[in-house]
Chain length 291, copies 2
């Protein structure tokens, strides 16, 4: 079903939403409820990143996290560490045995790493993405050690200085459990195979800039996306609040209240700088549908 099947809405009229005939201008509580309802026009569900991809993306976007290890007494010890990420998602650390976490791992290799996405100051700190990967730390050898050293030194500027100090040990966390939380009400566990096979989103680093640009200069395109691809034919304004390799998240103003929409790109983006081309292609698709 194409959105061209839907006649433009007259916002002064009663809106029929699957039997919920609610007059425009209803109270804000009712408007909030209405905004939870599905779009006016059915559209294909737009793909989102999997929990494994979310976990890999948070790990790839940061270089600092917290490692939990066990003290000699079996107490849990949290400490801030820097890390790199191997191709299979395993975190790599370079830890001094002069530090408690280094001594702890030499004694007991069970460990987990927690990483939080960076929080823009305006956002509720409880509503942020975070991931825990847990397993057993191993001392890499051979090609694995070379990969660990190369990736860690690329991530951490000072690593080349300390990496060869005799009291530093290279560790790679063999991931056995993954727990991802995306913010309020979004969370999932991930198996080690899915985690190892998943990719970090290549466009994550460029997404904040792309979102700012779309909102500053392309409000008309965002509104077109919401109406033609998001199914909200009565949308009056659209703001981009998320961008990833699969599509865009929009925040919408409609006569029914505020709501959200997800609009998907035709193909997943594979290049780090691919957001611009994918968004331009989305304009063409949306225009074809709206014509």
């Amino acid at each position: 079903m194409s959105s061209s099947d839907a006649a433009p809405q007259d916002p002064t009229q009663t809106i029929d939403m699957g039997g919920h005939g609610v007059p425009v201008g209803m109270g804000s509580a009712a408007a909030e409820l209405m905004a939870q309802l599905p779009p006016l026009v059915e559209v294909p569900v737009a793909r989102k990143r999997s929990a494994a991809e979310e976990a890999r993306t948070i790990l790839a976007a940061n270089v600092t996290g917290a490692l939990a290890t066990l003290s000699a007494e079996g107490d849990p010890w949290a400490s801030i560490v820097n890390y790199g990420v191997l191709a299979d998602g395993s975190p790599v650390f370079s830890l001094s045995t002069l530090a408690q976490h280094g001594r702890n791992l030499k004694r007991d290799q069970r460990a987990s790493l927690a990483v939080s996405e960076s929080v823009p100051p305006a956002r509720d700190p409880a509503d942020t993405g975070r991931v825990t990967v847990a397993g057993v730390a191993e001392e890499p050898a051979g090609g694995r050690l070379e990969e660990a050293r190369r990736i860690y030194e690329a991530a951490i500027a000072s690593a080349a200085i300390f990496g060869d100090f005799v009291d530093f040990t290279w560790w790679v966390l063999k991931v056995e459990r993954v727990r991802w939380v995306g913010g309020f009400g979004r969370m999932d566990s991930v198996g080690p195979e899915s985690f190892a096979a998943a990719e970090a989103d290549p466009v994550a680093p460029s997404a904040p800039g792309a979102i700012a640009h779309l909102n500053a200069d392309h409000a008309d395109a965002l509104l077109l996306f919401a109406r033609a691809l998001g199914g909200h034919t009565d949308a009056e304004a659209a703001t981009c609040v998320g961008a990833d390799r699969y599509g865009l998240d929009l925040d919408l103003v409609t006569p029914r209240g505020r709501t959200g929409a997800r609009v998907g790109f035709e193909e997943p983006i594979v290049e780090p700088d691919g957001l611009r081309a994918a968004t331009v292609a989305m304009v063409s698709s949306a225009r074809d549908l709206a014509a």
Copy 2:
């Protein structure tokens, strides 16, 4: 000894540094070594924040950290949490028993919290302040519960929504061990009494703005501080790289190479907005000394 005892240095001459007669224009390696030497004029050692104050300051400046708890198997589990800080430095959490850390604490109350200072993008992520506080989580009651709830809800916007959900438990970490790392080569352990008695630096939130302002508009004052109060009578340029309730950290260009200086305020600042007045007073003191 006042710095007015020292004649101005002629940077074209040989500089005598405690027997190290080194000509100006020496190689950069030698310049680096010379820059490690003490100032040209002896000055009182300027007070710095104690390790306990550093730890309290990092905790106060953030609301997100990583909690280490123990799984049913005794494995260490790191998870990102929000926290507030009670007057005695104890962190407070509100955790769901639907989440692993909440279940873990119900079973075994041993826990530790690791918090990192926010890292400006230009800085090496390994050269940042971080703190671990470890101890036993307790469920607060009475006035302690009221304090915990009030402080946590002030720190975390969404806390008022979730705090009373039946699956959420209030926890206060009774701190028994504190480990602070200030960056490369700066670290210390802190006893629980010192930690509880210490104050977070009241000017920490305003320090980045004050540093930017000093460097943008008051380079002359910073150079005066370096020469008159820091003992580096031959300083040619000064940049402020740190500001706290006790004084300023300066990065200096001298004919001997780059070096650093610490200059102290006459009295510790007690008000969050006190950096401006303390710096103005420092200008008067430095002028008196230089006259």
